[in-house]
Amino acid sequence: MIELHDLTKRYGKTLAVDRLSFRVPQGVVTGFLGPNGAGKSTTMRMILDLDRPTSGRVTIDGKRYGQLSEPLKYIGALLEAKAVHPGRTARDHLRWLAQSNRIPERRVDEVLSLVGLTPVARKRARGFSLGMGQRLGIASALLGDPEIVMFDEPVNGLDPEGILWIRNLMKRLAGEGRTVFVSSHLMSEMAVTADHLVVIGKGRLLADLPMPEFIRRNSRSAVRLRTPQPERLLDLLAGAGLRHEPGPDGSYEVVDGDLAALGELAAANGLVLHELSPQQASLEEAFMQMTADSVEYHAGDGPGRDAAGAPGVWGAGWKADGARPAAAVQQEEN
């Protein structure tokens, strides 16, 4: 288990990571979410003891990273896609890595086949596409058959097929009981892969909760109504005691409204409806609102620091059922 205790990293005047404390739960996919520049990569580098914290500490299974004997057997990480010597073959890259931690060499061919790179195993990395580089990075992370895997923005720059492959891989790894810790700046990506969510902004912890909980808290639903007789609609809503908000293009939205009840209300009163549709706030919007303060702070360095974020911007975030892309249930590759 990865545990962070008041982890802080300061670069000169900039506080990149600010007293970050959380645990990465075992055996599930934990999404590490934050806008660009929130301190995700710095945190991950500190977990691997690549960057030294200004204060605070990180432990893996209770030990500092440097105390792990043969660390690749505990935790495998992909930080950058093409951190490979361009003149070295994929196989040789994995071989030196395996030897350094006394991992049997047959494991090299196993992980190559696992990530689908067997056909190019003896090709130099120079000619690899970003996707292939990413697969090689994942192969190195899995080399030591570790309990914990950590990926930094693994889907960045990948084509849809590559994105799907990584999503399925992460679920498979968690399904095998491994701890998966993956960073992203895209809520939509996390929504389809993560079981648990850690959100940071400006180096500070903003949220640390199970994904279903985040969805429940953040996806308020509403029913959108559009009619050529707006005055009658407003009268009916007021008569039924339903709270409403103006929606786009002259429509009205009833927060937490019951679709069927509203349809029946309109029919019973002979109201013409041009639209009657369920709406859900996208998680992306919820995430952006959560981190808005930290993003603004980065750009403007203003004094305002109320972490709650301004309410009332919800109207802009209503989106037709867009919260959970269908790709989540796509079949597994291979």
Binding site: R45, D49, L50, P71, E80, T89, W96, S100, R102
Partner: protein, 256 residues
Amino acid sequence: MTSFPAILRSEWTKIRSVRSTVWTLALAFVVTVGIGALLSLLTNNNFTEFRRHDADTPFDATGTAFSGIMLGELAIIVFGVLAIGNEYSSGMIRVTLAAVPQRATLLAGKAVVLGALALLVSLVTAFVTFFLGQALLGSHSTTLGEPNVLRAVLGAALYLTMLCLFAAGVTTMLHNQTLALGVLVPFFFLLSPILSAVPKVKTLAHYFPDYAGSRMLLVYEQHGQPYGPWAGFSICLAWTAAALLGGALVLKNRDA
């Protein structure tokens, strides 16, 4: 702790799985042997003409065979820079340090592998250079049995090995391949040779690693020589140790 033999195996795989190792070491061999052979041949064919101006000093047949070492050393310096520097240019250093978090031990492992390979190639280069040079010098040649000759040939190999490790240490300190090449190559190719010929400044330049280390190659004592071959060896060794130590300190204390 990651085991040291495992680090050595891993670094050995790294070093032999890239082409730059082969071509830089081959270049060091070819340049040192080739230029030495060429100069030996020319000297033999034009001996009286070449020796007209310095007839009062003994002819150094060993030194003539090693005429190419000043260029050959550049290739082995480049080898030292690339072996360390490519990890920084590719970002692979972070993969390496995640696998082996004991940074000083890691650098020691790199230095052992790099040094052993450089020493092996340098020894082969030195002996081939010597024997080929002597063969081409004909009647003016010397043998390993003559005083100081074997020391000079072995000294040439140690000299090249130390420069390679010095370059590796400096590259670790600079943690940047391009910068290391940009500093080391002009230094050894231009700056040091020029400065060691400038009055006053040359006193300082005589303590640079290349001047000091190359004292090992001298068979005859030269006029105005500041120190002997073994003192030169020690100075060069001290530079090498300092560069590697500096590299270890930077590697240990810096964020990767």
